[in-house]
Symmetry: C2
Subunit: 272 residues, 2 copies
Amino acid sequence: MGAELKENIKAACGQFNPVFGDTKSNINKICCMTEEARSDLIVFPELASSGYEFKDRNELKSLALDFNSGAEIKRLKQTAKETNTYIVVGLAEKDRDKLYNSAILLMPDGKTHTYRKNHLFDREKALFDRGDKPFSVVETPIGRIGLMICFDWIFPEAARLLSLGGAQIICHPSNLVLSFCQRAMFARSVENGVFTITCNRIGTESRTDRALTFTGGSQILGNRGETLAQAGTDTEEIISAEIKPVLADEKMITMNNHILNDRRTELYGRLL
Amino acid sequence: MGAELKENIKAACGQFNPVFGDTKSNINKICCMTEEARSDLIVFPELASSGYEFKDRNELKSLALDFNSGAEIKRLKQTAKETNTYIVVGLAEKDRDKLYNSAILLMPDGKTHTYRKNHLFDREKALFDRGDKPFSVVETPIGRIGLMICFDWIFPEAARLLSLGGAQIICHPSNLVLSFCQRAMFARSVENGVFTITCNRIGTESRTDRALTFTGGSQILGNRGETLAQAGTDTEEIISAEIKPVLADEKMITMNNHILNDRRTELYGRLL
């Protein structure tokens, strides 16, 4: 029994304020927002079950989830199945002695796809192991989905690699403390001709010697850069838009220009 | 006698409406605006001596300039010398049987540097030969300068390669008919930590079966994406800003993140 291909989908962001260390309530929030959104796809922030500002690696370890077991992943899988929703959520991942800043895509059929943040931001370098896998794309009945996390945005290579890999929709869980990204994602959508869904968190954490205030502004952008939905800077909210992922397969932006095939890769040697 | 290094420079754009086919008056305009700007560096639009909408390759050929001879290049060199200005201008270039959409940097000491557009836009593919050289950077006493032309903006690889090559200032002659680029250049400055100077033209050309209206909005952006100067959408004007090119050498955007060295090139294979 294969799932039916869906041409028009409802995509959503669940912007909220995770409570640091309260895994249970955060997972509960994610499941409730998924139910409320009644969407085909919903994206949640980075590190949404734990919060962001770990005191040290031990504290991170105590809050990281084993994606192969544990009640939390089970509950998320259950929600994906019951609501028939593709859920993307950023979570701290524990894999033996490694700790990753990951995003997981949970599919209604029980399958999952994981991405481990390749470009760690600032203090994250002292806490997490960096991602160890290329950017890859998952083919689903609601479209081809690529994942990147927060600071990956500043490297055009990330969204580019996902687009070259066939992504129609880039899902982008974030914990942004500035507003550069929200402004720059326009370029990511336009230069690749893809839908981008940036879900940022809100709220303030003051657990170390610094206070971090997250800037919200979650947004869903169309494959030509149109703002299809945008959240406030400090409100818990679900935003959503009807999108047609197959539009992202149209890479001809004039009669004569294919934005991926026009790349002059023979002249790009210095990129690697 | 070596030119003295200059730490703070005045950078400018000369936004104007080239008269199609009137090479002499267009070159005159460029020289007059250079004199008026009294800047260290000035950028002019793409195809600024010819206009944009050639009827065919023969017409283009008749208006293209041989960069190794001819009164026009001589006059521009003379102006660069007399005003002590680095002039960047987009020109149709004739090199034996080849025709390029080029940008030339004319330096006060008489030297020049040429870039030939690598990513041709739409009908340009039927008129011009495409560029045949990698993106390269020129070291000058006013900073390290990289050139790209108009549609190159949509390929993040172009500005990236110039930045990897050491550019502090990207000069970007353009003939834009939409406003995507002006909005997206913010990302180019931020993701590379470089100054960008986009000089667009204004006016309308109706020489073929279509009318093209150019969108002006020339802009000078700082190495963190700040708008330092911006022109109107349909006014002839010189805009300028004082900039400190060496700021673009600071690629650390947090205590722990170098935006070029943090690239995970071992994972970027698909880019080439």
